[in-house]
């Protein structure tokens, strides 16, 4: 599977993960599956990369 990183949504504080190659350090907006919030990774409450 692609390398992943965990993100904490800045709006609802729920956690989900995304493919590193698709979103990390890019301007692509993530989509929170719990509250529909859209944000780039830098705007997340917390990021867990595991690197």
């Amino acid at each position: 599977m692609a390398r992943i990183f965990w993100i904490v949504c800045p709006k609802c504080k729920m956690k989900f993960y995304a493919a590193t190659d698709d979103f990390r350090n890019m301007d692509r907006k993530l989509l929170c599956p719990f509250c529909d919030a859209r944000f780039v990774d830098k705007e997340a409450d917390e990021i867990i990369d595991g690197d």
Binding site: M1, A2, R3, I4, F16, Y17, A18, A19, D21, D22, F23, R28, K29, L30, L31, C32, P33, F34, R38
Partner: protein, 467 residues
């Protein structure tokens, strides 16, 4: 009457009456149907489920019934291939392989003869929220279509049918995740021509349609012909509403969702995958939905991903293929099974009538290239039923010394959704030779004399009352 989902339900009711259960209690497609399937799994039960009253995505009572667990047990697949339910072991795998070799050209029918055209919604009438699309697991977040997606090769016109998750983004918009296989190649060809690729999501048909979609064939094979072979009759096709003869769709499907893959991407996922884990959120192509057509009194068929419903669907089509590959090198191969414990993709159990030492590992080496997702092959003797996992693990416990019988091959091409992989689409493979040696004496299995087994009957001594 052509084979379709309804003819299969009738067949199953006749051949295995207790295997179809229905409810009129109203239910919501967000997690609730999956919850019931999970409860049943914990009790090792997997009947075909029909929900007659389901909410649509606006919370209103939908005119669509929901049907699921079509592939949740092998005996249903046996019935789908016109076998008896009891013939669910290698008989089902061999029948599938036999039919894969007998491809049948599809036939084109008039719109008036196509049940899937009984109700037609195009343009502004299209609304995916009319459907009772399931949200399966908590981190999915959104409802997902999960059945088969068909497309025509932009260069040759040959058809591909494959299973893909599709996120409901809006009333007429979907997100589509593709592994880099046949559909992906068609999408890239269309992109190179500056065109969107027309596709159709086929919801609800005879299970042979979906089994045929899992057949491993070359990209230049028209999969509508393969599906016809699995059905045992020509697949009936009708021109799609928006794309006409450029995209032919199954006339007897319950629902067809037509659309085109745009040259635009957006966030899609996470989604609970066949592995039993969530695949991550991806930057995936977007699909514009252009038409929805369906039958009157339609069934919305859902294949529950990450559970036996999708595992078995993916496993059966591979078993006989691997059997044939292994047979080229190990003529004594007896059976091949992809167990649910390996998601019917990651593990294969192969039994052989071993004649010489080394054949166990040869069988493993022959099997591994068949599909990139296959990781671990356990080879057993013919006294071990590969469909009996307890016995396979007993052979593993009693016939294997790791330094002699385990081979590890590093960094081969792997599946794209294996959560243990540290490099995308690359993984290690393992062969475990759990066969007894031929060239030296080995312990004998314990047994009771056959004459005594035949003479002494349980019912002569105990009243077990069905326990």
């Amino acid at each position: 009457m052509p084979k379709d989902l309804r003819s299969f339900i009738a067949d199953l009711k006749q051949k295995n009456p207790g295997d179809v259960v229905e409810t009129d209690r109203r239910i919501d497609p967000k997690f609730e149907i999956t919850a019931l399937q999970r409860h049943l799994e914990k009790e090792n039960k997997s009947p075909l489920l029909i929900f007659n009253k389901v909410n649509n995505l606006r919370g209103e009572l939908s005119p669509f019934k929901v049907l699921t667990n079509l592939f949740a047990s092998r005996d249903k697949c046996a019935v789908a291939l016109d076998l008896d339910a009891e013939q669910w072991r290698m008989e089902t795998s061999f029948e599938f392989a036999k039919r894969t070799g007998k491809q049948i050209d599809p036939v084109i029918v008039d719109k008036k003869e196509a049940p899937v055209k009984e109700v037609i919604k195009v343009g502004d009438e299209v609304d995916l929220y009319d459907l009772p699309v399931l949200t399966h697991h908590e981190m999915d977040g959104y409802p997902y279509l999960v059945d088969a997606v068909i497309a025509a090769d932009p260069e040759t016109g040959e058809y591909n049918s494959s299973h893909h998750r599709m996120l409901i983004r809006g009333k007429d918009e979907l997100g589509l995740w593709m592994s880099p296989r046949h559909l992906w190649n068609y999408y890239m060809k269309a992109k190179e021509k500056g065109e969107n690729l027309p596709i159709a999501h086929i919801i609800g048909h005879h299970p042979s349609f979906y089994l045929g979609s899992e057949a491993l064939v070359s990209e230049d094979t028209d999969e509508y012909r393969v599906i016809g072979g699995i059905l045992g009759e020509p697949l009936r096709l009708v021109p799609s509403e928006v794309y006409g003869e450029k995209l032919m769709v199954p006339a007897d499907a319950e629902i067809v969702i037509e659309g085109e893959i745009l040259d635009y991407r957006d966030a899609e996922g996470p989604f609970g995958e066949f592995t039993g884990y969530y695949g991550p959120q991806r930057w995936s192509p977007v699909v514009k939905v252009t038409a929805i057509t369906y039958r009157k009194n339609p069934y919305y068929m859902n294949i529950l991903v990450g559970h036996p419903d999708t595992s078995i669907l993916g496993g059966i089509p591979k078993e006989a293929g691997i059997y044939e590959e292994v047979k080229k090198s190990v003529p004594g191969v007896q059976g091949v099974h992809f167990p649910i414990s390996g998601c019917c993709r990651f593990h294969a159990y192969i039994s052989i009538d071993k004649k010489v030492d080394g054949e166990g590992k040869v069988a493993g080496v022959a099997a591994l290239p068949y599909h990139d997702e296959l990781k671990h092959v356990i080879v057993v003797d013919k006294d071990i039923d590969p469909f009996d996992e307890k016995m396979v693990l007993w052979a593993l416990a009693t016939r294997v010394q790791a330094t002699e019988d385990v081979e590890i091959l590093e960094k081969l091409r792997g599946g794209t959704l294996d959560p243990s992989a540290t490099i995308h689409a690359v993984g290690d493979k393992m062969i475990i030779d759990a066969t007894r040696p031929v060239s030296r004496p080995f312990a004998q299995r314990i047994n009771v004399p056959q004459e005594v087994m035949n003479r002494i009957k349980l019912e002569d001594y105990f009243d077990l009352g069905g326990k």
